[in-house]
Symmetry: C2
Subunit: 369 residues, 2 copies
Amino acid sequence: MPISFTITARDPGSEARAGTMTTEHGSFPTPAFMPVGTAATVKGVWPEHLKEMGYGCVLSNTYHLYLRPGHERIRKLGGLHRFMGWDRSILTDSGGYQVFSLASLRKVEDEAVTFRSHIDGALHVLSPELAVEAQEAMGSDIRMVLDECVEYPAGRREIEEAVRRTTAWARRSLVASRRAEGGLFGIVQGGMFPDLRKRSAEELRSLDFPGYAIGGVSVGEGTGLQREMVALTAPLLPLEKPRYLMGVGTPADIASAVSCGVDLFDCVLPTRNARNGMLFTTAGTVSIKQARYAEDPSPADENCGCPTCRSFSRAYLRHLYLRKEILSSMLLTAHNLHFYGRWMERIREAIRVGNFGDFMKESLGSRVD
Amino acid sequence: MPISFTITARDPGSEARAGTMTTEHGSFPTPAFMPVGTAATVKGVWPEHLKEMGYGCVLSNTYHLYLRPGHERIRKLGGLHRFMGWDRSILTDSGGYQVFSLASLRKVEDEAVTFRSHIDGALHVLSPELAVEAQEAMGSDIRMVLDECVEYPAGRREIEEAVRRTTAWARRSLVASRRAEGGLFGIVQGGMFPDLRKRSAEELRSLDFPGYAIGGVSVGEGTGLQREMVALTAPLLPLEKPRYLMGVGTPADIASAVSCGVDLFDCVLPTRNARNGMLFTTAGTVSIKQARYAEDPSPADENCGCPTCRSFSRAYLRHLYLRKEILSSMLLTAHNLHFYGRWMERIREAIRVGNFGDFMKESLGSRVD
């Protein structure tokens, strides 16, 4: 079954839209945030709990799963959904981003990327075809083409080359895909060069993907430039197709991108920061290790109804964090994912009732990071 | 409210009995296993989940909580139940065992134990009175007197001295306790010397505690000697009062002690071993890291209905364990605690219906470790 995407509401004052994304594994409302489950697990959370929080799609990283336990092994075990005990949608990336950020000795050629595993130094060759094959083997619902993601800053020539290669790889990915009409997304590159962003988007549009991602942001360029690039890139993509901003971001980053017409998001912030003792709350972020919370009987967030805030004090959360208790990561991750879930819910509701502009003013004017 | 204990069924063929333990925080059936929550958390488990598994009482360690975050801080925060989000019963130990096993430079005198914290080397003095005070500050339901637990092997003179001191401390603990009629348990010592066990038990019985623990086992003496000491000590304790075997043990150890008339158990085995990749199953223990499970689609235990076994394969559990994922500890701990919970349920049921002897033959004859 191919994926489908329907827009159900548009904000009159911005490009924001609400919609429904449907895959073989169910539907979920957009704009949607997808928790990151790098190694086929959203760290510290039972899949059942993710469902209770309302999440309809998680992201998993092809690079990590390709190396361990291997996509063929996951295929043998019935696919990624069964493997990780998650029966809703899964988006996988292509592995490219991790090759560019984690692996060593990488050599990018038109044919493929050659790299050494960050684990054991073994040599691997990742081609656009292999990236498709690995994702199909795992059976994810939404898949990404292999792209060349360049760090910031980078010169025009380098970005131009990455755009050219990304388009060529996107074309090969479609050919390699047994289900081209399905969930394969193209990824727009172009660095911080508006005309190259435009070129990349146009070339990919001509290939007619069922969805498009905005790549090459959140690579060190800073918030201002990032938002500028998103605002510039989103309108270059087909109006009726889902738009996915990769690796972004804070609640405010997300709201800002929604106003540009972005539908899908993933980011390690709520989960990774939880493990580092940082909580997102309606009154701003909280670093739970601080001594001021040592005897604080109040919950992480007075306005939150999550299981963590219903039962546990900041004092207890601090105690667990300082003791490096497993439950610390569990409780903080649950809270942050609940926070992100409610944030997306509020965004969708605001679009549906037509006051997204007010939402932006109220929530961003005040505090959200 | 004092604790109460009622025996509801006796096994005709052994000393085993089933009963009900009641504290301010509810009732639970015995024989009961109490998961260990060292630092006010059973590692890797939400308290709600422990309740779903049927646990009515957890153990927490006074030594650790006394050092961090401090019993006075826990009192200020509304007591240990509120602190850790657990509204059922809590048993705390006296801190003595950890002083003897973890702390350095300890000096045992009649007045108190002087020791250096294993964390920062700070000097502390733990008296029987302070052990009572700390536990009362935390508000646990069942509390232990400070005792002198001697490692195996030890000479008769050393054990004799420990018995004498333990009785003296028990007497002072009762005086210090504001609720002597409540949940304070005496602890029988006596090493591996039957006559000293007898002396210790008699001296403590004369102090009329509401419950008695068998201490000084599981200190390196081995299974045979341990079971011998339990079989010898349990009948020395008042028939109508709860008996608690500290720090024991494997499912077979527990069943064996139940047949001697023991009612309460705690042990780190199901939780600690889970974190080390070891699963208890109806077909014996499983070391999940083994290569043979790499593509094994079956659950940890075919005969188990726990959330881990309902949703996840051995292959996935192995993957998580090798990746050191938080979810590995969570899933394996949940399974092992479920296993221990069902084990105790089967024991209680066998006593109730009068076939505990058959249960012992069937289950121990076959495999349980």
